[in-house]
Symmetry: C2
Subunit: 322 residues, 2 copies
């Protein structure tokens, strides 16, 4: 199934969501409006809002709150991307210029803050007492993991344990919270627990695959530069594996290539070393295991098209090319 | 009354608050802990948490929620200061090195995000349905006003109307929300309305005075550099007034001094021009009017020491030296 087919049960929700975001982000100030237009024009894969709506659907119910929740989760994600792009000095995101490149770091800091605040504004309107706390705790973990990631990148030999802790914090917990909250707004706390477990495993599979794609995809397919994690100091699983498995000589060479920022001319050699020590296969294998655990977590849920889509996403997450 | 005397009715609350912040911000990661220690070691005047606790007190009640609320409001404020210091490239805050200087902009962006998220985590635990929305909406306004402020600073002739709109958004609405929410957690919605009005006027008086102090105070008294607003592109009321009142020749000279960033050697002349056209007196006069409106808003509240302190703060806000 491709993404459009997977999203079919919630396509209407996603259209409503876009209208809701346009309405909620409408600003009197013309400059703020211009910034918001930029944000809304560059929709990504909308994975997180789709997961929220599918989770609500798979939990057998959905009021207006699912849209507020989906919008809030997407805004938290977009805000964090805008701030990440400052940190990584990225120039292209979702195929267009980043906010930091187009308007400078000052505006990028504030626009991220504005979208974070708007997300919590939306969450604060959801009357279920556990929804906002669930998302807030996940957002705390996300920021903390991003801080840890910067420190981690300053150590040349990353260890797997810290890597998994960081990607859980920066990606999987927010996705888990989004899925769980989707169950909560549908009023089904038993399903919410399963969806929380699904989201945690799915999020791990998603981030591990994302990190591998940075090393194996093509720039025009991915919509952003490849080999971007290395110059921005992110030590990812294929690299950690190759460093751990490599001969002393290859390890030294690999560290040299990493320290050099994996420049264009070095990429073939880097690729060969990662393949020689099975770094990419190793990472994709672990992602596959997480995706199967995600699927298993859904077993107790009642059958239906939303559940089918969530299951399809557990396959999609590891075979996607962007 | 000095600040210690004004805070007396809530001094115990402020001590509990500090313990609560230490507990809430405790992190497993040693680097995150180091950052948090820096944040907690540099307590400012604690005006916002004091206002929350005094507002709760003046509304005749207070459970644990007032401390969560006070902590959340302080964290939103501190997070915004950390991000402001990136934007203004500030080097000193509250007498010590800023986060951006000590650890770089990347960490400063993420630490601000972490504290924002933690603030909303605390707010999400408060069961009163209007508290989190009140603070979230004020935080949205704050970020939006900061974006507007950057644009405003790029236009040499500021207008008063936009200035008031910006300071309301970046300062007064959050203080208003904090005071209002203090009444709400105390379960007194009639008092909350009065406290919201008090906070809005008090916040305007506070920011106008703050902006004037940047031009009239001494660096060792203020704990941060003076004349900092001009190089960072903030057009404040004394300057707007002098530009509006000045002769064509003095206006041109003033614009030249502003464009030059108000360097040390230019400050005496700048000061003379602001005094000649009554810019600082004009600003302080308006601040005084706001502070009297703040006091008037409290009239219907029952008498008591918390109310007395709030009234004392309406005097303090315009006579303070830092």
């Amino acid at each position: 199934m491709d993404l459009a087919a997977i999203y079919a049960p919630v396509q209407e929700d996603l259209d409503l969501l876009h209208a809701l975001l346009e309405r909620e982000l409408a600003a009197d100030d013309p400059f703020v409006s211009e910034l918001v237009r930029h944000v809304l024009s560059t929709r990504g894969k909308m994975v997180r809002p789709a997961l929220v709506c599918l989770s609500a659907g798979a939990s057998g119910g959905a009021g207006e709150a699912r849209l507020w929740l989906a919008a809030a989760v997407e805004l938290i994600h977009v805000a964090s991307l805008i701030h990440d792009d400052i940190i990584d000095q990225s120039e292209v995101r979702r195929g267009v210029s980043t906010v930091n490149v187009q308007w400078g770091n000052q505006i990028a800091v504030l626009l991220g803050d504005y979208l974070f605040a708007k997300a919590f504004d939306l969450l604060s309107r959801i009357r279920h007492p556990d929804v906002a706390p669930t998302l807030a705790v996940a957002t705390v973990k996300m920021s903390q993991a991003e801080i840890m990631q910067i420190k981690f990148g300053q150590e040349p030999h990353g260890d797997e344990h810290t890597y998994f802790e960081i990607i859980a914090g920066k990606t999987a917990h927010l996705i888990s919270a989004a899925c769980r909250a989707g169950g909560l707004v549908a009023g089904n706390s038993a399903a919410a627990d399963r969806l929380g477990a699904f989201g945690l495993h799915w999020g791990m599979a998603f981030q591990i695959t994302d990190d591998a794609l940075d090393l194996t995809s093509r720039e025009d397919t991915l919509g952003k530069p490849i080999y971007s994690d290395i110059p921005s100091g992110k030590v990812t699983l294929p690299v950690i594996r190759a460093l751990a498995q490599g001969s002393a000589r290859d390890r030294a060479r690999l560290l040299g290539l990493l320290a050099g920022g994996a420049r264009d001319g070095d990429r073939d050699e880097l690729q060969r070393l990662l393949v020689r020590y099975g770094g990419i296969d190793y990472a994709l294998d672990i992602a596959g295991r997480y995706s199967r655990q995600a699927a298993a977590a859904l077993a107790p849920l009642a059958p239906g098209e939303a559940k089918d889509s969530l299951l399809a996403l557990t396959e999609f997450v590891v075979v996607r090319s962007r």
